[in-house]
């Protein structure tokens, strides 16, 4: 009987540890959310839909980059150049828009504003694609460690942006269309349904894009052949090569994906500001994105990861930031709190395999 009881105790502790290891991020998010929305003094402000929507909206760019980063990290890589790609994609997009909206010699602008913005979005995305390809080729064909290759990108893409903007800011010549995209929202439930004096429930384009990319990323990683190959390559690259997987193609694709995600995030930020600050846009984005990925329970060693965890990781960081703002903690201290959260998250999730 003694033995049975002991075994039971062991397996109970084991189960709790396993649960925390797998779902710690969910528990942390739920606890944080409930505390903020119910217990805290500022609960009323926090749970105001306006505030919640703002939190998500402000962190949609980080979220999109972090989702791409999840794929790269699961495949055993890392991308430090995401912030610089954001800035470069935004700058290229704006320069395209401005060029197309400049009046010709005859004083006539050939392009309508909407088309110019579309073209800008196109060149911005193409920039992200090109940067992703560059990183990917350096890592696969060039056989550079991902850390080094993208460290180069971090420096180079930012410097190109600074050169394009002459170190300053690029302002958009688009008067309304671009910023409308950045700030625009969609009505989900019109006010008339909710009754008199109610405000309609709306959602910004940024949030919709974030949700869509999260869903695509999740399906890609868990359901698709590509996702399985990503996990296999990150888990054991040699075994993957021996298992008839085109390892280089898979790794290259992950860098292209994160490049595109960064470009999308860069365009979103550009649209919101209707300008690009060549030194500020996306700076330190790589750290926030990697932090969210790690908090979300993805293994830095590759082979194990999940997109939903990353989304929660982004939201945890966002809520904590919100708390610190409410508590009027000096922004200088925010970094330390974030640092502690990251380290705690990894310590809890490292579990028994360490």
């Amino acid at each position: 009987m003694m033995v049975a009881a002991e075994t039971l105790a062991v397996s109970h502790a084991h189960r709790v540890a396993t649960f925390l290891e797998r779902h710690g991020v969910l528990v942390a998010f739920a606890a944080l959310f409930l505390w903020n929305a119910v217990v805290a003094d500022t609960a009323e402000i926090f749970r105001n839909p306006e505030n919640l929507r703002n939190i998500i909206n402000q962190n949609a760019t980080t979220g999109i980059v972090a989702i791409g980063m999840t794929l790269v990290i699961v495949a055993g890589g890392i991308d430090l150049s995401v912030g610089s790609i954001m800035a470069l994609a935004g700058a290229v997009a704006l320069l395209t828009v401005n060029y197309l909206l400049t009046a010709g010699e005859d004083g006539v602008v050939a392009w309508s504003e909407a088309f110019a913005v579309m073209a800008g979005v196109g060149t911005g995305l193409a920039t992200g694609l090109a940067c992703g390809l560059m990183n990917g080729f350096l890592v696969t064909v060039g056989r550079l460690p991902a850390f080094i290759a993208t460290l180069g990108g971090l420096s180079a893409y930012r410097s190109i942006t600074l050169a394009l903007a002459d170190g300053g800011e690029i302002r958009s010549a688009s008067a309304s269309v671009l910023s409308a995209m950045g700030r625009g929202s969609v009505t989900l439930v019109p006010a008339s349904v909710l009754g008199p004096e109610a405000r309609p429930i709306t959602v910004t384009w940024n949030i919709l894009l974030f949700i869509a990319i999260a869903i695509i990323g999740h399906i890609l990683l868990t359901r698709s052949r590509f996702g399985r190959h990503v996990i296999a390559v990150g888990g054991n690259e040699t075994a993957a090569r021996y298992s008839a997987i085109a390892v280089n193609r898979v790794r290259l694709a992950t860098f292209v994906i994160v490049g595109l995600c960064s470009a999308i995030a860069g365009l979103m930020a550009t649209a919101r500001m209707n300008s690009v600050s060549s030194s500020q846009l996306g700076s330190f984005m790589e750290l926030d994105a990697i932090a969210a990925v790690v908090i979300g329970g993805t293994s830095m060693a590759g082979g194990r990861g999940r997109v939903w965890g990353t989304v929660l990781g982004v939201m945890i960081l966002a809520i904590i930031n919100n708390m610190l703002v409410f508590a009027e903690v000096s922004p200088y201290w925010h970094g330390s709190v974030k640092g502690v959260i990251i380290i705690l998250a990894v310590l809890i999730q490292r579990g028994r395999r360490a």
Partner: protein, 525 residues
């Protein structure tokens, strides 16, 4: 004297040791055998201070001891030579031997290493173990056998009186094994107690004075080698009577070759290898470690750049650039390195089975139900014991992992399969099932190439055996009178001109090396 009494150890899922008591006497070579999962490794890790037992005591010279760490065990004179060697490749031999115990110079309160003294001491230790290795050489430049000797020298440097050796010959050639044995005998004569763990029963019978058999975490019996046969020992390990280990050989059907390899060469040690295999035929590739067997297979499959020679699959010239190309032409290679290259330990049974051939389950989104059905089918066909389809296969036994590695390739429906050391490190029951599987595959029309260091295995399975020596074909053997361990050994060791034996079968005439642009034309995308 080292003794354990009533040792128990449980892991979350299993009870690894259930009341084991053993004594290891001074100057004794004590064999420890058992199937995978019998508890050998756990017991040794407890002795070496890696695990703490749940119950029971360890006595060193009749004094009870508790080993909380490897260094506490080391302080009592216990050293372990792991199957995977634990040396630092970028350090010299001497630095490895004295790692953490470097002789100091009196200067600066002993913060400086006395390199010259260290190297002198290392040299004399190396002579002791019969290795004439320069102590200043980097460990990564040594052969595996030399590294093992360095490990032993390292253990002796710490005044080890109890030496635990886990599968020490798994990576050694026959000749290296023989010299290791004479070293073990010398150490034993000097009073070192040696615990010898191995799957290779003939070796255990040859070197050990007493043999303890573990099964399911309990001690079955301790026997003397002269009282048991190899077969009896195997039966004690498995706990049932073993009938024929090898299935009956059926004649290979007459057919055109499925795979024809002609004069291939590849870095670093494949110089001139030719052989062919017909559908339904099982051929063996024999040779000492370093003879180029694995490298030749890797050159065929596209994992190594071939610099010369041709490979034909069903009479079509092929030039695979990756295992992907090879599988597209229905050629599969199951690696010898199961954990590093064969399977993904963190993926589950289903994912491992379908990984090489996932496109068959859907171009973009593989059908989960079809994958599950396929995995179930292989699990049933190969009798894989996989209690949870969705659990990482890390926890499965070596034999079951090996079967999954084979299943992964069979799922791609190959017509030619190269199996590299298919039974390395798996227990007897699983070995027998693997043999059955290989014979069944041949019967179903697959052309099978088996690479193995275990000669009885090759002789028991193969229709023909191609023996490699230093990257070239030393000879080809076929028929019951030629397929003997002796003939294979003579060929692989290069003493085939012995008058007692007819000259080896001539190697097939090698065609002139193809022009380089021929191979370049077939470069795959």
């Amino acid at each position: 004297m080292l003794e354990v009494r009533g040792i128990e150890k449980s892991f979350p899922a299993t009870k690894a040791l259930d009341g084991v008591s053993l004594r290891f006497g001074k100057g004794e070579v004590h064999g420890l055998v058992g199937e995978n999962g019998a508890g050998k490794s756990t017991l040794m890790k407890i002795l070496a201070g890696i695990y703490l037992p749940d119950a029971g005591t360890i006595l060193v010279d009749d004094k009870p001891r508790v080993f909380r760490s490897v260094s506490e065990a080391g302080a009592c004179g216990i050293a372990m030579i792991h199957q995977e060697l634990n040396l630092v490749g970028a350090l010299s031999v001497a630095e490895n031997i004295f790692l953490g115990r470097e002789p100091r110079r009196p200067l600066w309160s002993g913060r400086l290493v006395d390199r010259r003294l260290m190297e002198r001491n290392a040299a004399s230790l190396l002579v002791n173990v019969g290795a004439g290795i320069d102590p200043t050489r980097l460990v990564e430049s040594l052969s595996v056998a030399e590294q093992q000797l360095v490990e032993i020298a390292k253990a002796l440097a710490s005044n080890a009186r109890f030496l635990i050796m886990d599968e020490p010959t798994a990576v050694l050639s026959e000749r290296e094994t023989r010299s290791l044995f004479s070293l073990i005998r010398r150490l034993a004569a000097n009073g070192v107690a040696i615990v010898y763990i191995s799957h290779l029963l003939p070796e255990v019978l040859a070197i050990c004075k007493r043999i303890s058999i573990l099964r399911d975490g309990r001690l079955v019996e301790t026997v003397s080698p002269q009282d048991v046969s190899e077969r009896k020992l195997a039966e004690l390990m498995v706990g049932r009577e073993l009938t024929h280990v090898f299935p009956e050989k059926r004649p290979a059907p007459d057919a055109a070759p499925a795979l024809e390899v002609q004069g291939i060469a590849a870095a670093p040690n494949v110089l001139d290898v030719s052989f062919s295999v017909r559908p339904g035929e099982i051929i063996g590739l024999a040779g000492l470690v370093g003879s180029g067997r694995t490298e030749a297979a890797e050159a065929i499959i596209g994992l190594r750049r071939r610099v010369r020679g041709t490979v034909r699959v069903f009479n079509t010239l092929v030039d695979f650039r990756s295992p992907r190309d090879a599988l597209a032409a229905r050629v599969a290679y199951v690696s010898e390195d199961r954990k590093g290259r064969g399977v993904h330990l963190d993926m589950n049974c289903i994912e491992n089975t379908t990984l090489a051939h996932l496109s068959a389950y859907g171009a973009v989104f593989p059908s989960r139900s079809r994958e599950r059905r396929a995995a179930r089918g292989w699990i049933e066909r190969l009798a894989i014991r996989c209690p949870d389809l969705l659990a990482p296969i890390r926890t499965l036994s070596g034999g079951n992992q090996q079967k999954l590695a084979v299943a992964k390739w069979l799922d791609g429906k190959p017509s030619i399969i190269i199996l590299d050391e298919p039974t390395r490190g798996i227990d007897l029951g699983a070995k027998r099932e693997m043999y059955r599987l290989i014979v069944d595959l041949a019967e179903a029309g697959l052309a099978c190439v088996v690479i193995s260091s275990e000669l009885p295995e090759l002789i028991g399975l193969c229709h023909r055996i191609v023996v490699l020596r230093q990257g070239r074909v030393a000879g080809e053997l076929a028929g019951a009178d030629e397929l003997t361990e002796q003939r294979i050994m003579y060929l692989s060791a290069g003493v085939d001109r012995s008058p007692r034996f007819p000259p080896p079968t001539p190697t097939p005439p090698t065609s002139p090396p193809p022009s380089s642009n021929e191979s370049q034309q077939r470069k795959s995308a």
